[in-house]
C-alpha cells in the first residue's frame, strides 16, 4: 500500500467516526471534553456553530453519531452523545455575548426562505450573520416548523424551541407568520436575489383500505393529529387507540395518545420489530410507557357500524426474502385478527407536496415528485431557487436539514456574488500536538470503563397525566462528567514520523488493542490478514507509513484504537505523537483558499 496521506483532511476526519457520521460534522469529541471540564457555554457554542439547535437536537436528534461511535465497537454501548449535547444547552450561562453580530451595513442582497423550519432557520442564520437581508415566510404563527408542530412537548418543550429560534431571529431576520405562499411565480416577481424552499414533507400518507371514508371521523393522519395536539386544538382521545405505522411519528402518536386519555393504546406494524423505522430508543420509550408493539400485521379494513368505528381487521404476514434480499410480506394463512378500538392514528409515512409551485415555471421535478437538484449545491433547475431539508430529498431528520441549510447558504452566497457554486470553500482544519510533558497530555487519556449512563426521567404517573410535562430530566453535572469521560477522544490522532522511529517495538507491545504492526508492505487485503490482530472492518482505514530502516512499514488499524496515547508515551524518540485534529466545515462567507 502507498503511505497514507494524512495531509488530506478527510483521513483524520474519518477517524473521528461521530463527526464524520454527523451530517453537519459537529466536532463531537471537542465539545464533550468541554462538558467534562464544566465549560458548558463553550461546548454549546461549538454545537451552535455546527448544528444551530443544540438544545433541540440534544433532546430529539436522530443521532447518526451514536451508531458510528468507536466506543460502541469496544464496549457494550456508545457514548450518549445526544444527551450530552442537551447538558451543554441546559447548564450553559448566558451566551448572548458569544453570538455573532451582523454587520450594520447590509450587503444589499435580499433572500427569502419559505417555511420556518430547521433548514430555513439555518440558511437565515448563516446569511444574516454576513450581511444579507433574510425574510422567512411561514403559514404558522410561530417559527420552528415540524420541530414545533410534530414533536410532542413532553419530549421538546416550547421554551427550548423559542430560545434557539430567537438566537437566529435576533440577528435581524425578518419574519412573516401566518403567511401562505400560493405561487412561486408571484414570489419570484417580488425580486428576491435568491429563494430558499424549506417547506418539509408536509403531507401524511393515508391508509387506503375499506372503511377509511365511512369511519373518517375516528381516523386521523398522524402528523396532522400531532400538530393539532401541539397547538392545543386536540386535547383528548378515546380510551382505545390503535396507531398504524412503525416510524418515529408512530412512536410520538402513541405516547401522545397515552397522555390524552388513551388507556389501551397499541402500535400495529406491518414489518418485524427490528425492521421498524423508529429509532431503537424511541421504541424503548414507548414500551416504557406500557404501549405494546404488535408486528407483522397488515391493516385490511376499518370495521365500522354506520360510520362508528368498531376496530381494525388485520392480516397476519411473515417476511420472505428473495435471492436479492428484497423483502415481501406473505400472508401466513392464519385467520385475520380484529382489534377493537375507538380511534386510529395513521402514521405510515410522509410525502412532499409543492402545490404552490407552478408546473410551467421551469422548475423540474423527478418522477417521485421531488425537485431536480444539484446534490452538492442544492440548486434547482431555476438558478435562483434552492431547496433544503425534507423538501430537498424527501423526509430525513432535523440534523440533515441543518446540514442542507449550511450548504444552501454557501451556495446562495456564492450565487449572489456571481461566483461558481462549485468553487466551495474548504473546511477549517487544525492538527496540533497535545504533548505537555513526558507523560502528560492536554487531554485526559485514561480510558473510562464506566457503563453508559441512563438519563433520569420523571415518574410516569405524573408525566402520563400532563402532555406538556417534559419526561426526561437530563443528566446532572456529575452524570454528565462521567458520561463525557467515556468518550475515547478519537479526534486526538496518533501521528507517526518515519524518520525518528528506531523500530524498538515499544508501541506494539503496549497497545492495549493490538492496533500496531511492523511488517513487510503488501496489498491492502493481504496486509489486513496478517496484522497482529486481523483488521476485519474494511470501513476503517489502515494507516501505513513510508518504508522504515529495516525495509518494513508501520501499519496501524484505526478501527479499535482507543486513542489512549500509550504508543506515544512508550515511544523513546517521539516518533508517535498525539495531535488534536479539529475540523469545522466552511460557513457561508468563508473564502476558498487560493493555492
Amino acid at each position: 500500500m502507498k503511505p497514507t496521506n494524512i495531509g488530506n483532511p478527510d483521513y483524520f476526519h474519518k477517524v473521528v467516526d461521530c463527526q464524520w457520521a454527523c451530517p453537519a460534522h459537529t466536532p463531537v469529541p471537542e465539545y464533550i471534553r468541554l462538558i467534562a471540564s464544566g465549560h458548558y457555554s463553550e461546548a454549546y457554542m461549538i454545537n451552535w456553530r455546527s448544528n444551530v439547535f443544540p438544545g433541540i437536537l440534544g433532546r430529539v436528534c436522530d443521532r447518526p453519531c451514536e451508531p458510528a461511535c468507536r466506543r460502541g465497537r469496544v464496549d457494550k454501548e456508545p457514548v450518549a452523545i445526544c444527551r450530552l449535547k442537551r447538558v451543554a444547552a441546559d447548564l450553559k450561562d448566558d451566551i448572548q455575548e458569544r453570538l455573532p453580530v451582523p454587520p450594520l451595513k447590509k450587503n444589499g442582497k435580499r433572500v427569502v426562505c419559505v417555511g420556518a423550519g430547521p433548514a430555513s432557520l439555518t440558511v437565515a442564520r448563516d446569511l444574516a450573520a454576513i450581511g444579507y437581508e433574510v425574510t422567512i415566510l411561514d403559514s404558522g404563527a410561530t417559527p420552528g416548523g415540524m420541530m414545533r408542530s410534530q414533536i410532542p412537548k413532553f419530549r421538546l418543550p416550547d421554551s427550548v424551541i423559542d430560545e434557539e429560534c430567537d438566537y437566529i431571529l435576533n440577528l435581524g431576520v425578518h419574519t412573516r407568520y401566518s403567511h401562505w405562499v400560493t405561487s412561486l411565480r408571484d414570489l419570484l416577481d417580488e425580486g428576491w436575489d435568491a429563494v430558499f424552499v424549506g417547506t418539509g414533507a408536509p403531507r401524511g400518507r393515508d391508509a387506503d383500505v375499506p372503511g377509511r371514508r365511512e369511519a373518517a371521523a375516528h381516523i386521523h393522519i398522524g402528523i396532522e393529529w400531532l400538530a393539532n395536539v401541539a397547538f392545543g386544538h386536540t386535547t383528548s382521545i378515546a380510551p382505545r387507540v390503535i396507531v398504524l405505522g412503525g416510524g418515529n411519528t408512530a412512536m410520538d402518536c402513541c405516547r401522545s395518545a397515552r397522555r390524552l386519555g388513551g388507556e389501551d393504546v397499541k402500535v400495529v406494524v406491518r414489518s418485524g420489530f427490528d425492521e421498524m423505522k423508529a429509532s431503537p430508543w424511541e421504541k424503548e420509550d414507548a414500551i416504557h410507557e406500557s404501549i405494546p408493539i404488535i408486528n407483522m400485521h397488515v391493516p385490511k379494513e376499518f370495521v365500522h357500524y354506520n360510520g362508528k368505528l368498531k376496530g381494525v381487521r388485520f392480516e397476519i404476514v411473515r417476511a420472505e426474502y428473495d435471492a436479492k434480499g428484497r423483502r415481501s410480506l406473505v400472508p401466513t394463512g392464519e385467520p385475520d385478527v380484529l382489534m377493537e378500538c375507538d380511534e386510529v392514528l395513521v402514521a405510515i409515512g410522509q410525502e412532499n407536496s409543492f402545490p404552490w409551485i407552478e408546473k410551467d415555471i421551469g422548475l423540474q421535478f423527478d418522477k417521485w415528485g421531488l425537485p431536480v437538484l444539484e446534490t452538492a449545491t442544492l440548486q434547482s433547475t431555476l438558478p435562483k431557487v434552492f431547496f433544503g431539508g425534507d423538501a430537498a430529498f424527501g423526509p430525513k431528520n432535523i440534523i440533515t436539514a441543518v446540514a442542507h441549510g449550511h450548504e444552501a447558504a454557501i451556495s446562495i452566497d456564492l450565487f449572489c456574488r456571481g461566483r461558481s457554486l462549485l468553487d466551495r470553500p474548504p473546511p477549517m482544519v487544525n492538527l496540533v500536538s497535545q504533548k505537555m510533558g513526558i507523560h502528560e497530555w492536554s487531554y485526559d487519556n485514561q480510558v473510562s470503563e464506566e457503563e453508559r449512563k441512563k438519563v433520569p426521567v420523571k415518574a410516569l404517573e405524573k408525566t402520563l397525566k400532563d402532555i406538556k410535562l417534559e419526561l426526561e430530566l437530563g443528566f446532572d453535572p456529575f452524570m454528565a462528567c462521567a458520561e463525557a469521560e467515556r468518550c475515547l477522544n478519537c479526534d486526538i490522532e496518533t501521528v507517526f514520523t518515519v524518520k525518528t522511529c528506531i523500530e524498538c517495538d515499544a508501541c506494539v507491545d503496549i497497545c492495549p488493542t493490538e492496533c500496531i504492526t511492523f511488517t513487510a508492505n503488501g496489498e491492502e487485503d493481504d496486509l489486513r490478514g496478517r496484522l497482529k490482530a486481523p483488521a476485519n472492518n474494511g470501513e476503517q482505514a489502515l494507516y501505513v507509513s513510508d518504508v522504515l530502516k529495516t525495509g518494513r512499514v508501520m501499519v496501524k488499524d484505526e478501527n479499535i484504537c482507543l486513542h489512549c496515547g500509550m504508543c506515544a508515551e512508550r515511544c523513546p524518540t517521539g516518533a508517535w505523537d498525539m495531535q488534536k485534529f479539529f475540523l469545522q466545515t466552511a460557513e457561508a462567507g468563508t473564502e476558498a483558499r487560493r493555492t
Binding site: R73, V74, D75, I438, H439, N445, Q446, V447, E449, I502, E503, C504, D505, A506, V508, D509, I510, P512, T513, E514, A533, P534, N536, K549, T550, N559, I560, L562, C564, M566, E569, R570, C571, P572, T573
Partner: protein, 353 residues
C-alpha cells in the same frame, strides 16, 4: 514511561487460547522501565509464548535477581508465582524451589550484571547441574540502574555514551553455558520477536537447563553509535543460523519445506522443534562445533543468533539425584519418617553386643 494502567477494553475479536485466556491475561503490572527498553519487548515475547503454549499462569514460577532486567517479572504473568531474590542469587533460590516442587515451570530472569558479574558463580552451577529451568538473560551490556557503566558482557572496544572505550574482555554467556553443559542454548534479539518467541517456547518445553541470551538494547545508555548492543548495530551484525518453529503434539503441520532445509528435533514431552536452516552447515546438536562457531564469528564482530545447541535427550537435576516423582514439598510425615521401630532396629544394628 507510562503511569496509567492499560485499559481493560478488549477488541471484540480478541483471540483466546484453549484455556479461554487472552494475551492480556498473561500481562502484569504496567512497566516502569524507560520508554523503548528492549526488556519490555522480551516481556511481551514471554506473554506471547505462554499464551501460545496454553500455560496456566499459576503453574509458572518466575524468579529474578536485581537490576532493570530483574524488575521485568513484575510486568508479565501477573497471576504467576514470583520471587525477587538478592543480587545474583536467583539461580540458587530457583534451584531450591525446583527441588522442592518439580511440578512448576521455572523461569529465571536475569541480566548481564546479575548473571555475568555478581552472580556468575551461581549462573555456572545452575547450568552445570541441569536445573530444569528457562534462564533468560536480558543482556544490554551496561548497568542501566547506575547510569550506564560497562557490564561484564560489553564488547572490548565498544564505546559508552560518554565516549569511554571498554578495554576489558567480554563474557559470552551463551558460550559459557555451552561449555558448562547447558542442554538448550540460544541467542536472540529483543527487536526480533519472530525469532525470540519460538525460542522461549522451545525453552519452556525443554527438560533441563535452557539458556537464552537476549541482546536487549538500553535506549537510555547504550543505543548510540559505537555501541555494539544498539538496535542498529545488532540489526546490521545479526548472523542468524536458523529459525525455529515449535510444534505441539496437538498442532497440524501445514507448512512444507524444501528437502535438506529443515531439521526436526523431538523433545522429551513430544513437542517438536522445527529448525529452518539459514546457515546450511550449522549443526545445532554439535556442542563443540557450536562453541567454535561462536568464537569464530565473535572475532569477526558478528552476533550469532538462533538455537545454537539443543540436546533432545537431556536429563535434569531431579534425574541426576534420582528423586521421587512426588514433589518433595508434598511428601508427608508417613512417607518421610520410617517410625520409631525402624529407628530402634537401626540403632540395634549398630550396637556391638
Amino acid at each position: 514511561m507510562t503511569f496509567l494502567a492499560k485499559p481493560n477494553l478488549l477488541r471484540p475479536d480478541t483471540p483466546r487460547n484453549t484455556l479461554g485466556y487472552t494475551r492480556r491475561d498473561y500481562e502484569g503490572a504496567i512497566s516502569t522501565l524507560c520508554a523503548g527498553c528492549g526488556h519490555d519487548s522480551i516481556s511481551a515475547a514471554v506473554v506471547q509464548a505462554c499464551f501460545d503454549l496454553d500455560i496456566e499462569p499459576h503453574r509458572v514460577a518466575k524468579l529474578s535477581g536485581i537490576g532493570c532486567s530483574s524488575k521485568t517479572p513484575d510486568y508479565f504473568l501477573g497471576a504467576s508465582h514470583g520471587f525477587n531474590t538478592t543480587h545474583g542469587r536467583m539461580p540458587s533460590v530457583l534451584t531450591g524451589a525446583a527441588l522442592a516442587n518439580r511440578e512448576l515451570i521455572y523461569l529465571g530472569v536475569s541480566g548481564d550484571g546479575d548473571s555475568a558479574s555478581i552472580g556468575i558463580g551461581q549462573f555456572a552451577h545452575a547450568m552445570r547441574r541441569g536445573v530444569n529451568m528457562t534462564y533468560l538473560v536480558e543482556n544490554n551490556g551496561v548497568y542501566g540502574l547506575t547510569k550506564g557503566q560497562f557490564s561484564a558482557t560489553a564488547d572490548r572496544g565498544s564505546k559508552s555514551k560518554r565516549g569511554v572505550v571498554n578495554s576489558e574482555t567480554p563474557i559470552d554467556l551463551a558460550a559459557l553455558a555451552l561449555q558448562l553443559g547447558a542442554t538448550y542454548v540460544a541467542r536472540s534479539f529483543s527487536g526480533d520477536k519472530e525469532q525470540l518467541i519460538p525460542l522461549i517456547k522451545g525453552a519452556l518445553r525443554h527438560l533441563g537447563s535452557a539458556l537464552i541470551d537476549v541482546i536487549s538494547p538500553c535506549v537510555t545508555f547504550n543505543n548510540h553509535a559505537g555501541s555494539t548492543k544498539s538496535y542498529d548495530f545488532v540489526r546490521e551484525h545479526n548472523d542468524a543460523v536458523n529459525r525455529l518453529d515449535v510444534i505441539l503434539p496437538r498442532d497440524k503441520i501445514s507448512a512444507s519445506y524444501p528437502p535438506g532445509s529443515l531439521r526436526r528435533i523431538v523433545q522429551h514431552d513430544g513437542s517438536v522443534l522445527h529448525l529452518r536452516k539459514i546457515d546450511k552447515d550449522y549443526d545445532p546438536s554439535d556442542r563443540v562445533g557450536a562453541m567454535n562457531y561462536l568464537q569464530e564469528r565473535h572475532v569477526l564482530g558478528e552476533i550469532v543468533t538462533g538455537l545454537l545447541y539443543v540436546d533432545s535427550s537431556a536429563e535434569d537435576l531431579h534425574r541426576h539425584l534420582n528423586t521421587v516423582e512426588m514433589p518433595l514439598n508434598k511428601l508427608q510425615d508417613d512417607t518421610l519418617c520410617p517410625g520409631s521401630k525402624a529407628l530402634e532396629a537401626l540403632n540395634a544394628s549398630l550396637r556391638s553386643s
